[in-house]
């Protein structure tokens, strides 16, 4: 294991009573990369990030962040990380600048540098002209931008973003990604983020897919997609169980219903479609063929799509809500 890993995790686990939210994960984040934690709600993303940020004590395993142990050197870790949570943690009654000043004092930013640093991070997220407005007058997107600025204020080595774009409109989401990309150029920083948006995971240098408290695979998005090697075909039929049965018997393909369509993976999808119509023996109402996406990667490793995985995971969602308090 490289000694200078930004984040290094060994057999990390967390149990709440008898429920294991994180079942022993191992991974490493290299300095300077954008590392994504991808998984459905309740997969253990937030619990893992909370352990790395020293907010929750692990029940097993170990982790270091910026070279410091998250349990034994908690203050050292805290000094070296920036945090942006899913839920806002700003004081609405204070101005944007007052919120940042509070943070600067609490993190002991050298007095002479406070003003310049606040200005720099606020300019980065294009909020400097709103510095004296009370935060409660801000939109959700502005608040998130301000939180990102605040997370950067004390020049952390690692910035943790827990679902940084959840609940935001598409325009704001892309603006936030713009800041994140800009940030990598301007500051010497490692970014660790969680997301359950596939399209956002594409921006990461590497992603770890996490499901049911385990990391199932870690690689770059390109390598993961290339690894699937098959196209995704989705068909609409009047009788889905019969179609699945027919696919198995006649083509030897395993199919399942995902998002309301019979879905299966096959090499060279376009060339397969004519055969499908000719030989399936069941009427097909519509068909779509797509190149492997991260959705397919997710599906090939976990056996379900991320949206299916989220439906009916109430217990874990509840655990996560509890853990966040």
């Amino acid at each position: 294991m490289p000694a200078d890993a930004a984040v290094s995790v060994r057999g990390l686990r967390k149990a709440y009573g008898k429920v294991e939210a994180v079942k022993g994960v191992d991974f490493e984040v290299r300095p300077g990369e954008v590392f994504g934690f991808l998984g459905p709600n309740g997969a253990g993303k937030t619990t893992t990030i909370s352990m790395l940020c020293t907010l929750v004590n692990p029940t097993g395993g170990s982790a270091t962040v910026a070279g410091h142990d998250v349990v034994k050197e908690r203050d050292q870790v805290r000094r070296n990380i920036g945090l942006v949570f899913q839920d806002p943690t700003l004081d609405g009654y204070l101005s944007a600048q007052q919120n940042l000043r509070f943070h600067a004092e609490l993190y002991g930013v050298p007095k002479g540098a406070v003003h310049d640093r606040i200005r720099k991070v606020m300019e980065m997220v294009a909020l400097w002209d709103r510095k004296d407005a009370k935060v409660m007058t801000f939109s959700g997107g502005m608040k998130r931008r301000l939180e990102i600025a605040r997370g950067l204020l004390h020049s952390p080595r690692v910035l943790f973003l827990d679902e940084p774009t959840v609940g935001l409109d598409p325009q704001t989401r892309s603006a936030i990604w713009g800041y994140i990309n800009q940030l990598r150029l301007m500051e010497d920083i490692t970014i660790f983020m969680t997301t359950h948006y596939m399209d956002e995971a594409e921006y990461c240098d590497r992603i770890a897919i996490i499901d049911h408290g385990r990391v199932v695979v870690i690689d770059s998005p390109e390598a993961l997609k290339a690894g699937v090697g098959k196209d995704r075909v989705q068909i609409q039929t009047p009788d889905d169980p019969a179609a699945i049965e027919a696919l198995r018997e006649r083509f030897g393909l395993e199919a399942a219903v995902h998002e309301g369509a019979v879905t299966f993976a096959v090499a060279s999808g376009e060339q397969f479609v004519p055969r499908l119509f000719a030989e399936l023996g069941i009427p097909i109402k519509s068909v779509s063929v797509s190149r492997p996406s991260l959705d397919d990667v997710f599906m090939s490793y976990t056996g379900s799509t991320i949206r299916d995985a989220e439906a009916g995971d109430d217990t874990m969602a509840w655990m996560r809500a509890m853990a966040r308090r």
């Binding site: 070296n80 949570f85 004081d91 943070h103 004092e105 930013v109």
Partner: protein, 284 residues
């Protein structure tokens, strides 16, 4: 591009850093208070109502039995303490509010000691409460209490002490609470009887013995009594009225000196502060 970064290096934790944390938490309390005019106003209306409406009404009723003293003059130190106590409690309650709105998390994930945050909060509550108390102090002339510098300084110090302890008490209550309604419910339940039994509203002389016991064990009595003693020291009151209205606190015939009373309040404040810090350490 990398050269553009104005990196800052965050120093290792030390006393100086904790002190900055105390100061900024205190500073925020004051900003919040100054920004919240409604709260300031409502905190003012209550004692004014008590003092000038209740005080005047009850005063005309009891006029005959306390010759030479305006009932409002008697109530005055009680109203100071009531204002200070309510303001301090509200300040402490903001911790629950901070938790509900997430800001507490911002404080608790910072690389500073829990002690610095709790001390900052308690000092903030105390300063804000004293600020509110000053407004009541300004009304002294209206109820026949002189504007003597010595009296004002004494009252300010006593207010600060009482407010600090009450904020520490409130923070201890608030440490685990998840919603603000529960906190204010509990606060009412705790503060009302303490207020009634503290001598803020009626003199503690000649009470039935069960009531006397309750007033003696009520910590707030020891915050209110020094203020009354201070005010009465600057008044010219007939001995009979003085004995009735300003009897002090007695433990089995032992007249408790003001110094000891203040010591009790201060000691309690320190203990509650410690408990609050422990609560926050555990709550993580």
């Amino acid at each position: 591009m990398a050269s553009e970064a104005i990196g800052v290096r965050v120093p290792a934790r030390g006393a100086g850093h904790d002190l900055r944390a105390v100061k900024i938490v205190l500073h925020r309390e004051m900003l919040r208070f100054v920004n919240d005019r409604t709260r300031m106003l409502s905190m003012l209306v209550q004692p004014v109502l008590w003092l000038f409406v209740m005080g005047t009404g009850l005063g005309s009723l009891v006029q005959g039995s306390i010759p030479g003293v305006d009932y409002r003059t008697f109530m005055y130190p009680g109203m100071i303490s009531m204002t200070v106590i309510m303001t301090a409690m509200f300040s402490a309650g903001s911790i629950v509010w901070d938790r509900e709105f997430g800001f507490l998390r911002e404080m608790l994930v910072a690389p500073v000691s829990r002690g610095a945050i709790v001390i900052g909060k308690c000092l903030g509550g105390a300063v804000v409460a004293v600020g509110q108390g000053i407004v009541i102090l300004a009304m002294a002339g209206l109820v026949g209490v002189p504007y003597a510098p010595g009296l004002i300084v004494t009252l300010l110090l006593e207010m600060f002490l009482a407010a600090f302890t009450i904020t520490a008490f409130g923070v201890t209550l608030a440490a685990r609470m998840k919603n603000i309604q529960t906190f204010f419910g509990l606060m009412q339940m705790a503060i009302m009887p303490m207020m009634f039994l503290s001598g803020a509203m009626f003199p503690l002389a000649n009470l039935p013995s069960w009531l006397h016991v309750l007033t003696v064990v009520n910590p707030m009595t020891y915050a209110v009594d020094p203020m009354r003693q201070a005010v009465f020291a600057y008044l010219d009151v007939p001995a009979a009225a003085e004995a009735m209205l300003n009897p002090g606190v007695r433990w089995f015939g032992f007249q408790v000196p003001v110094g000891l009373e203040l010591g009790i309040v201060a000691g309690l404040g320190v203990v509650l502060l410690g408990v609050a810090v422990l609560q926050f350490r555990k709550a993580e």
